[in-house]
């Protein structure tokens, strides 16, 4: 057997073409493996996390002074760091266990731990790569050449003395065992011709590289940077991908474990819970199918549904969801739902994370992953991660609580970075390598040579170096180590006839510096991508292609202000709610898309948060107080607070998370003051609350041109009350920032929401005098009402009847238009009318708007201004559409 051996040859192609037996190119890793096989020194692989756990135990059992402070703050990474040092020290050839005499403290710690350890496959510390090499050397020394290795020749890339640590010794022993050592050959002198293309982004760089390959594929591609973008460019040209795409843990299935344990730990974060429920880990069975989730579809749907109503756990919606799941008789879903319910009902306390308790909770996850994986490699990797974690946890003291951070570190060390599905090299006419040292000959296309520096080599200080050397170690200087890599790379590059380097310039908005190797190849020719094109020809380093610029696309047209289509009576609504009416009045276009044409954004599992969540919470507080209390007095602050505290975990549980105390304090302060203001205002005004969230569904006749049409009008009223004189009042509660908007609507009699509530009351109680209406602003604790007891502004009562009539007229007119096939873009049209565009200042806009509203009012109609400008449909009417 003939082996080419070089420091940077791990991963190199074994041969250059055709086929070969008995020959291979190996780097240090490969050679060690080969020798282990030859010498009967193979062993099962040990996960790094397990070794760290072993070292951690050693440190616990043999406390050391020097690292004690760090060990107390961060046991896991202190153990990991010491272990790295230990492995690096062993790699020099030093024997920690037998080192004698006083040592520098770092080495002394390593020695003490080593003496306590039994290093070996079955010992208390599993061996490292350095130990493997040590063993090989020891065995070779022991057999003194009397072991047939079956290797005839080792062709060296480097002088043995240039290699670090024990390597020169190994080579010596191999020679003694009869292996012929060849080389190294004299490095090629001179420099290959260098051309550097300096692009400004990856796509134009990829164009240059892909064209180069398309023009003549007889090259070696040196992929120094991620090739995902280049690979797409190659595929567009029908060329094979290079597939140099790195692993990462940013993939859905690598999120499983961390997320699961997060949810299992108190306090439960409902957003994390929702993410876990929503997590999809495998593609669906076909292009149209839903991807497969970790949690079975039924359980996912129901529980997420519950969370989006009540962003907390254990509330009525959550219970109802559980009940529905158990009725559905789907054992898998039920099992998953129960596990999750148990998980969040009795979460692990964050300050008492015992390995045993954690490991136990992982059982279901492991089982579920096995069930879902169906042999899928990626998911099996997640499963392995869970199993390694269970192993590591099993090695730790079951009763000793782990810091949350330590647990996270353990999870991270249990692996989890998975290969990219893009990391597939395809059969190509060109050679591919990722390391300059592995370049053999010919023309090299060097993709993305940049200066991402490798982790600096382990450095030993002077005293340590002396001690290591005294103990048989061989320590190289950082400069020697740096030139070992640089020399290997330059040897490879100098074997090339020509080097064409393509620099993407920037990647992910950062500009990596150029590779230091480039400087060694001389100045070369530097070109920008635009310089490669002349008179319809693209050329680079002697290769050319025809190119042509496509004709400029016409500017996209601005969508029309109104759509004219065939009469569309089938689009008329079958039900109406206040929201729908408001949408229709504000913008028929938006209404049509949303309500009539089913053009909607996907329902993502976004839980209510911020103002919406708090609004719901405070509404619920009011509702609960009304239901639980009888009597005419207003609730005390304490009562309000008690109700609020009770509802927070169910309706706004995120306020209980660490870091939210201030927000919670703020909500509590405002809510208590405003709810108390609501009740005391109502009481003072002599009102008696008769209902909250009262639902209604009443027939509403619309006198359309095409004939009268009766649809149900549906919705609910926040607060119904009766005055001392028996007159009804309806109040709508708003959690809104604006203090003037609602007063303004009221004063101009355009509060059509209040008008419609008054109408429903009139329908429900025919013959009574029209109800009183008003708003209560929850943020500021103020009423908007004509009742001076509630609102001292002295507002004139709102003419709800008139407002209702005008609203109805406007709705009818809009629907007539729809039926006739005319659909207008509300706010764009308004803009046109007022002559303002998006850049107008706020004050100009509001003046113009006030004018427009007044004009409509004069004309007996009504203008509802609400634009979805930043909303989802604005892109289709052209307001935020992409015209640039």
């Amino acid at each position: 057997m003939r082996i080419e051996f070089g420091w940077s040859l791990d991963g190199a192609a074994w041969a250059d073409g055709g086929g070969a037996s008995g020959a291979a190119r190996l780097g240090p890793r490969g050679l060690v493996q080969l020798l282990q096989g030859r010498l009967g020194l193979t062993r099962p692989a040990v996960e790094p996390a397990v070794r760290i756990a072993q070292y951690l135990r050693l440190l616990q059992e043999n406390p050391q002074d020097w690292p004690a402070r760090s060990f107390a703050v961060d046991p896991w990474s202190t153990a990991a760091q010491l272990l790295r040092w230990r492995d690096a020290a062993v790699a020099t050839g030093w024997r920690p266990a037998t080192a004698e005499g006083p040592l520098p403290e770092r080495l002394a710690v390593l020695r003490d731990l080593e003496r306590a350890a039994a290093v070996g496959v079955t010992g208390t510390l599993a061996p490292s790569g350095a130990d493997d090499l040590r063993e090989i050397i020891d065995l070779l020394e022991e057999v003194a050449g009397a072991w047939p290795l079956g290797i005839e020749e080792l062709v060296l890339e480097e002088q043995p003395a240039a290699l670090p640590g024990m390597w020169p010794r190994l080579l010596e022993l191999l020679a003694e065992a009869g292996v012929r050592l060849e080389g190294p050959a004299r490095a090629a002198a001179g420099s290959p011709g260098l051309t550097v293309v300096e692009a400004l982004d990856e796509w134009s760089a990829a164009d240059a590289a892909a064209r180069f390959l398309a023009a003549d594929p007889q090259v070696t591609v040196l992929a120094a940077a991620d090739t995902d973008v280049l690979d797409r460019a190659l595929h567009r040209r029908g060329l094979p991908a290079i597939g140099a795409v790195g692993p990462s843990r940013d993939r859905a299935h690598h999120q499983v474990l961390g997320l699961f344990l997060d949810v299992a730990t108190a306090p439960v974060d409902v957003h994390q819970l929702a993410a876990l429920l929503d997590l999809r880990v495998l593609p669906g069975a076909g292009a149209e199918a839903e991807p497969v989730g970790l949690v079975p579809a039924l359980a996912r749907r129901e529980l997420l549904g519950a969370l989006s109503v009540e962003p907390g756990v254990g509330g009525p919606a959550w219970q109802a969801a559980l009940a529905r799941i158990s009725e559905a008789e789907q054992p898998r879903a039920l099992e998953a739902a129960r596990v999750i319910d148990r998980l969040v009902a009795a979460p692990l306390p964050a300050d008492d994370l015992r390995p045993g308790a954690i490991a136990e909770r992982l059982d279901w996850l492991a089982e579920r992953l096995r069930a879902v994986a169906r042999g899928d490699g990626d998911l099996l990797a997640s499963l392995t991660q869970v199993q390694v974690l269970q192993r590591v946890l099993g090695m730790l003291d079951a009763a000793e609580p782990l810091a949350r951070r330590t647990l996270q570190q353990i999870i991270d060390s249990c692996g989890g970075a998975g290969p990219s599905p893009r990391a597939v090299r395809e059969v190509s006419p060109w050679q591919v390598t990722t390391s300059p040292a592995q370049v053999r000959s010919g023309t090299v296309l060097w993709w993305g040579p940049s200066s991402d520096r490798a982790r600096p080599a382990q450095r030993w200080d002077a005293a340590e170096t002396a001690a290591l050397e005294a103990g048989g170690g061989r320590v190289m200087t950082p400069t020697q180590l740096a030139s070992l890599e640089v020399d290997a790379a330059l040897r490879g590059l100098r074997r090339a006839g020509a080097v064409v380097a393509v620099l993407p310039g920037r990647r992910l908005e950062e500009v990596p510096g150029p590779s230091g190797l480039l400087a060694h190849l001389g100045a070369g020719t530097r070109l920008r991508p635009e310089e490669l094109i002349e008179d319809g020809r693209w050329s680079l380093a002697g290769r050319t292609l025809e190119v042509a610029a496509p004709p400029l696309a016409p500017e996209p047209e601005k969508p029309p202000l109104e759509h004219r289509i065939a009469p569309a009576p089938h689009l008329l609504p079958r039900r109406l709610s206040y929201t729908q009416i408001a949408a229709l009045l504000a913008c028929p276009h938006q209404w049509a898309l949303q309500h009539a044409l089913d053009v909607r954004p996907a329902e993502v599992a976004v839980l209510p948060t911020g103002a919406r969540m708090i609004g719901t919470l405070v509404h619920a507080v009011v509702e609960t107080l009304v239901h639980e209390r009888s009597g005419a007095t207003a609730p005390t602050d304490d009562e309000i607070e008690a109700v609020l505290d009770r509802l927070v975990p169910q309706l706004a549980s995120e306020l209980d998370l660490p870091g939210r105390a201030a927000a919670r304090e703020d909500v509590r302060d405002r809510a208590v003051r405003s709810v108390s203001a609501l009740f005391s205002g109502v009481t003072q005004a002599g009102l008696r609350i008769t209902g909250t969230e009262t639902r209604f569904e009443l027939p509403l006749a619309l006198p359309l041109t095409g004939g009268e049409r009766t649809v149900p009008f549906v919705g609910s009223r926040d607060l119904d009350a009766v005055g001392p004189d028996g007159r009804r009042t309806v109040l709508d509660l708003k959690w809104s920032r604006s203090r003037t908007r609602y007063g303004d609507l009221f004063d101009t009699s355009e509060a059509i929401q209040l008008a419609s509530y008054a109408w429903t009351l009139a329908q429900e109680h025919p013959g009574e005098e029209p109800a009183d209406v008003g708003y209560f602003l929850l943020r500021s604790g103020e009423f908007v009402s004509a009742d001076p007891e509630l609102d001292p502004h002295g507002r004139a009562p709102m003419d709800t009847g008139e407002a209702w009539r005008r609203m109805l007229a406007a709705v009818t007119a809009r629907l007539d238009e729809v039926a006739a096939g005319r659909i207008r873009c509300g706010c764009r049209e308004l803009q046109e009318r007022t002559g303002l565009d998006a850049t107008a200042t706020w004050s100009k806009r509001s003046t113009a708007l006030a004018k427009a509203r007044a004009a409509e009012r004069e004309a007996g109609s009504l203008l509802v201004e609400d634009h979805c400008g930043l909303g989802d449909h604005a892109v289709l009417c052209g307001t935020t559409g992409a015209l640039r």
């Binding site: 047939p148 030139s483 640089v486």
Partner: protein, 1077 residues
Amino acid sequence: MTQTFTLINASAGSGKTHTLTHQIAERIAQGLDPSQLIATTFTTKAAAELRDRVRRTLLERGQVDAARGVDSALISTVNSVSGELLREFALDAGISPDVQVLDEDRQRAAFRAAIDETAAQAGARAAGLLARTEHDGEEEPEVPWAASPSWRAHVRDLAGRARTNLIGAAALREAAERSFEEYREAALPEAEAADRRPAWRSGIAEAVRGLRALELPERTARTVDKHLLTLERLLRDVAEPERAPWSAWAKIAAVAEAKAVDPGAKGYAFSKDVDLALAGVATTIAEELPANPALHEDLRSLIALVMGTAADSLEAYQRYKDELGLIDFIDQEVRTLELVRTSERAREVIRTRFRLLAVDEFQDTSPVQLALFLELSQLIDAKIWVGDPKQAIYGFRDADPSLMLGIIERIEQGTAGLGDAEVLDLRHSWRSQEPVLDLVGAVFPQVFPELPRERVVTTAAPEAVAAREAAGRKAGRLEAWVPEVPKRLTYPQHATAVADGVLALLREEGTGPADIAVLVRSNRRAQEVIDALTARGVPASGEGTAILASREGRLVRAALAVTLDLSDTLALTELVDLLPDHAAHGTWFADLAAQEDRMARRELFAQWWRDPVLAGLRALREECISLSPVEMITALVDALDLPERIRAWPAPEKRLRTLDALRAVAAQYADRARADSAPITLTGLRIELDAVDRGPDLTGTPDTVWVGTIHAAKGLEWSQVVVMLDHDPTERPQTSGAFVLPAPQLDVAAPLAGRAPRYWPAVLPRLAALQDALAASAHAQRRTARERQESGRLQYVAFTRAADVTVLSGDGSAPVLDALVPAAREDSPPLLTWSAGGAGIAVRGGGLLPAVVRTPAGVLEEGAPRFDARRSPLAASDLVGDRPDPQRLRARFQASGVGAEDVAGTVGTPRTIGRRLVPGGGPQWERVGEAVHAYLALPPLGEAQREAAAARLVERWAVSRAVEPSVLREAGQAWAGFLAAEFPGAEELTEQPISWWNEDDQVMEGWIDTLLRLPDGQVVLVDHKTYPGEHPVEHVREKYLGQMATYARALTAAGLAPSRILIHLPLRGEVVEVELA
């Protein structure tokens, strides 16, 4: 070795990096090893550049060996140098070796989380106080301009300043009383004994009653009514003294400053009648408010609350970070400083390891950094520090140019204490032509009067002049622009004029957009100029169109949404609307409206999705689940064929930047989510993308005029630079907030000594008397002066960016310079003046600098000429016509993965060669199999060696409970016996590497277990398989036939065609022969 210290004082354009790299190369030539160098820079980009420059310089000088070792030098930002040292000496420092460094955003979040409880409790206790002083605003308000101050933001700010200045919790607590005392002395009269608020209130109530009783004409009555509502609300507010804001009183007091009381004032506070009615009480309040004892008490308490909470928060934040193993940028430096001060091991290692400390951009050093550099300098022999105090513009990050000046002073006095010290002044400009330098020379010696003239002005380097002449470069010049506008110049008009002027510059032969930069004061101004340039067809860089406002950005967003969830019909419709080649483009609305019902619409959506133009997305939908966010964006860009599509759109280079920015958004999302332990999912990416409101950074796009702030221009240069001057630079009054008092006498050797924290709240910002008094205080004056100096340095940076042409654009003068260099007399002209038709820029007391004066139009005429930007050469494509879609094969394959389906062959009957070793499997059989396999892979050995190896393998594979070493031996013996009988004289080669390219050019590399070379030259292929089961023949046929066929073909290709193929099943003690057809 003697200590040496070189301080290079490098004015703008004077070849600073060149000097530094040559100095370093020189030291290396004298024996310095590259690994003995520490160099710090201000940014990571600068670090990469410096590393590259050092390497190139070494190569140019023929120091090839040193050049190869450059990667062992520690060249980095101050932060990462600190980080590296801390990591290495973590155990000495007693910290976690795996600390996570918080970036600015996360630092903010961590601080807030850490002080959450403390602040919530303190805030709850002080709710009334915070309401009265109106310091209860949101910390990060949604609508910032209308927000009231947030005491928590003040706490954060104060704590941050305390930390950068190494001020501890105790010092903060102690300073509270001093802060209040100084505030009181500056602005408050002696407190009165009685709280007069009840009297004020009745005064107002009376005025209101009076107003109500007034008989007024209708128009005035309506106005008065409106104000009455306000006043009544105010009366209601102040009726609740616990929460009534002090500003309510100030609102009334404002009447005393207005026309009704002071006839010289501009107008009324409310309206004439209302002001008249309030005049009396307003005067009383105005007089008495500042002396109100409750106000004094509130101010004192508020200061104590903020400073006390800041002190508590320092401690809470520290605990929080310790628990989570977090560290922020400030900690990094502070901890490194402590480490270098206290750890003997660290000091010793630094002393022996490093021999040169180079510091670049020294002027931007903060006090902690200087302390660190000084500490390192004690240990490291040679020092080269480079900087320019005139270019220190990071005051807001605590950079302090006085530190550099202090060091220079000490060197010159010979008291630096850092060995042989010298100051090297670089006096030549390698960048700019004479006219540009003349302007600098006329202005900046006056801006920096404390600096010797030769450290402010440079002269053109003769070599550079000669080189320019040789290259035939045009002579440089100055220009001065006066925008032509009908009335007072506004900023948007100025922007229009700048664009017009740029158009004029572009008309000149040989000038392209990339030669020009426009420097402005703020991002807002930059946006105006970009818009104005765009309106004239001049391509501009700076921040580009917001990602989601660009076609490509919208397409990617919509494609992501649809691909993740087909129910997103809005996104699907948007795709149809954005893709002109989609079949339903242009008709979608009518098509959809024509559908009778929901079912029909659903079918139509499905049909849209199946359009050929969406084929890429359909394919992606199946594989996207396992892509990372960045890969997903790349895939979407590709699936939409954007790289080709955008060639037909205007400005493809900018669009490529949008694509890059999209990927950056994805990467940042993943980073942040990871740091927050939040899950990273594609749905999360979608939500993230929806919230993005920025555009890509277009810096460097070819053929564009660069537009940006002076801060962003630092370190860059252009041929022609337009400086857009501020119209009236207002100085913000520095009367509130957290600040740190400098030491009375700066000691550069102990740059942090003697600093003291202060905090003044922003109460009653509209009470003129109070604010004026505060503004006149020494603290405010000093802070204002500091701002002013910083502004001077900013101007210096702006005026030194041009190589050939500096353009000053403004209303005939540079008010910002006048603020810096006030005239001696009231009636003196501004420092610089120019006017339409003039011949140059007049310098006050210094003659005329010749300049081209232009009057660009500030208001555009209909049909104003546009710049004819050439179409980007990058629009050209090699992809025309149909795209080939060949079959794609993986480049590598493994023999064991080759199926048996296509292999014709037979499996013979098993022959027993020994005992069955593992009956029926068992839990450990896989490992037993591995051990047996490993044993069989050994080369031919002697007895003792075999025995030892067997024992070793049983132990190593941890199978001693299942098998004895003798079992391995037995398997080996059975095999050896079989070989001896079947193939006498055969040579056994174990573990042989094989590589082979198949006819599809796929490569296979692997190890063949055993090759037998028979005496007649024939070759036998053997594989050991650890199958313990009951159906060997079927198993071999199903699982191994493909692999054997592959090996056989590979061997044939290598000229070693096997004559027989055997599979050895050691656990069963059998051999099976395979015959391939």
